[in-house]
């Protein structure tokens, strides 16, 4: 029965390809995830490498501010980094599904998220701002957006969520936007802005400034709104040991001045990073 043998072989190959993955599950929900990572000598991290200058791909490699910070942490831990580049839509669901150990991508710390995920201490502080095509007379200030089409990321993108609340207050004064377009990634927002498919783009300030550097003379910053926001990374809520281990390293980098150096390198300016008070009420601590 030659054919039967072939079928058995095929099944065997299938089983053999599927089986080895089970013990490799990234981060089972055991309490000592950090110890486990150290023991394995490898950590799996997710990044949405589409947020210049925080994280993006250059010459086939993930680079950017967060990447430099992450590399410094991994070096201090003395382990191997397995970094995945995922579209934003896959980042938070993927963390919950235990596809990776933690997320190292710029996430605004907001109350909704802080209740679901354990935020590390901030790596940056940003404001949410509005960018327009240079010299467009229709966009005059952040406090009147009537008749405008605004582009932003798809929720749960942090700046978008903040902007939606902000727009609600404008709407009450009759100055809300005409339409809000949601993009899968930030470069798409800027391409659409330069193609006149939207009138202005909402995003965090370093990203807007980054786009202005990428397209010299095309865009101009209209202004910022709201209070400043902290930007951090997240772990699953039951992996606080890992979160604390990351915090310890970020604190070290800040105290040694390395964090400020990296901020200067990628953003052109530095930020004060606090030890506490960055988590909203009700957050996982």
């Amino acid at each position: 029965m030659r054919r039967k043998g072939a079928l058995a072989f095929m099944i065997a190959v299938l089983v053999a390809t599927l089986m080895p993955w089970y013990p490799m599950q990234a981060g089972a929900a055991a309490p000592g995830l950090f110890a486990q990572i150290k023991k394995q000598g490898q950590v799996t991290v997710a990044t949405e490498a589409a947020y210049y200058p925080f994280e993006f791909v250059d010459n086939g490699k993930i680079v950017g501010y967060d990447k430099d910070v992450l590399d410094a942490i991994i070096k201090a831990w003395g382990i191997k980094l397995n970094q995945l580049d995922l579209p934003f839509a896959g980042i938070l669901p993927g963390l919950e599904a235990k596809k990776f150990d933690f997320v190292a991508t710029a996430l605004l710390i907001n109350p909704d998220r802080a209740k679901k995920y354990a935020f590390t201490m901030p790596v940056a502080q940003v404001k949410v701002g509005l960018l327009k095509r240079k010299g467009d007379p229709r966009v005059t200030s952040v406090s009147d957006l009537s008749g405008l089409v605004i582009g932003s990321g798809t929720p749960p993108a942090g700046p978008t969520v903040i902007f939606m609340h902000y727009n609600d207050t404008l709407k009450a004064q009759g100055k809300g936007v005409k339409a809000q377009k949601m993009f899968a990634s930030s470069p798409d927002e800027f391409l659409a802005l330069s193609n006149k498919q939207v009138d202005a783009v909402v995003d965090s300030t370093p990203v807007l400034l980054g786009a202005m550097r990428k397209f010299p003379g095309v865009f101009e910053l209209v202004g910022t709104f709201g209070t400043p926001f902290w930007v951090g990374w997240v772990t699953r809520p039951d992996n606080l040991d890992l979160r604390d281990a990351i915090n310890a390293q970020i604190r070290k980098l800040r105290d040694s001045g390395e964090l400020a150096r990296l901020q200067k390198k990628w953003f052109g300016y530095t930020m004060e990073i606090p030890d506490s008070g960055y988590l909203p009420p009700g957050a996982i601590r």
């Binding site: 839509a89 938070l92 669901p93 919950e96 599904a97 909704d112 679901k116 582009g151 798809t154 929720p155 749960p156 993108a157 969520v161 377009k181 949601m182 993009f183 899968a184 798409d188 391409l191 659409a192 193609n195 006149k196 498919q197």
Partner: protein, 232 residues
């Protein structure tokens, strides 16, 4: 694993609106696509190389590239030529071109399935070419047209989910927005899948009824069964 129904019930408005947008986009592009498909099919059957060539090129171009990439090209590359194109226009245009290319193949096949002798006879009886097409060919080709067309219309509905990438607020975009606030992928995606399933099942049933009303459907069924290559 628990299935949290409140994810769906508390966001039903978002789902309903997304479903509505999907319906409108698919409806408009199906009609435009059928018109385009007919023109392309007739061009491919024409004797002039100047009509046939571009028609073949167009169909191959659409059939040999992913819809996702076509959408990106229309939304991000076309404006580089100075044309302003909104997400709505880009979405409808992408679906129409895509549908038109595939529909044209079905229409061409259906026209060819009507024996040549019948058009010859119509001409001999003094009918003009247009009249022969309208009175003799089109009514008979419907039975051959509907089965492959059903598959392609279903394909169009499913592929419209890709338009979420260029900000069209259709069902998949609505699902991602629900995901953004609830962080419940299983519930949100299951609901989306169910809605698409209902839509495509209704479409198939509707087309099935239509097919039943064509006089030659029995004969045609048997010959097209093997020929149909379904589209994803």
């Amino acid at each position: 694993m628990k299935f949290d129904l409140s994810v769906i019930t508390s966001n039903w408005q978002l789902f309903a609106r997304g479903f509505g947008v999907t319906l409108v986009y698919c409806g408009v592009s199906s009609i435009l696509g059928l018109c385009l498909g007919l023109v392309v099919a007739l061009a491919r059957l024409s004797r002039s190389v100047w009509l046939r060539g571009p028609a073949v090129g167009f169909v191959e171009l659409i059939r040999d590239t992913p819809f996702l990439v076509q959408v990106f090209v229309i939304f991000f590359v076309v404006p580089a030529s100075g044309l302003t194109i909104s997400a709505t226009t880009a979405g409808i245009a992408a679906l129409t071109l895509y549908g038109g290319a595939y529909f044209s193949e079905s229409i061409r096949g259906a026209i060819l399935s009507v024996p040549r002798g019948q058009t010859d006879a119509a001409h001999a009886a003094g009918m003009s070419h247009v009249l022969a097409m309208r009175r003799i060919v089109f009514p008979q080709m419907m039975a051959y047209l509907i089965p492959p067309l059903t598959n392609q219309l279903i394909g169009l509905v499913k592929d419209s989910s890709v338009l979420s990438i260029i900000t069209v607020p259709e069902l998949t975009m609505a699902t991602q927005r629900v995901l953004g606030t609830t962080f419940a992928p299983i519930e949100a995606f299951s609901m989306a899948a169910l809605l698409y399933w209902v839509l495509t099942a209704c479409l198939a049933a509707l087309m099935g009824r239509l097919e039943h009303h064509t006089p030659t459907h029995r004969a045609a069924r048997q010959t097209t069964a093997f020929l149909t290559v379904a589209d994803r």
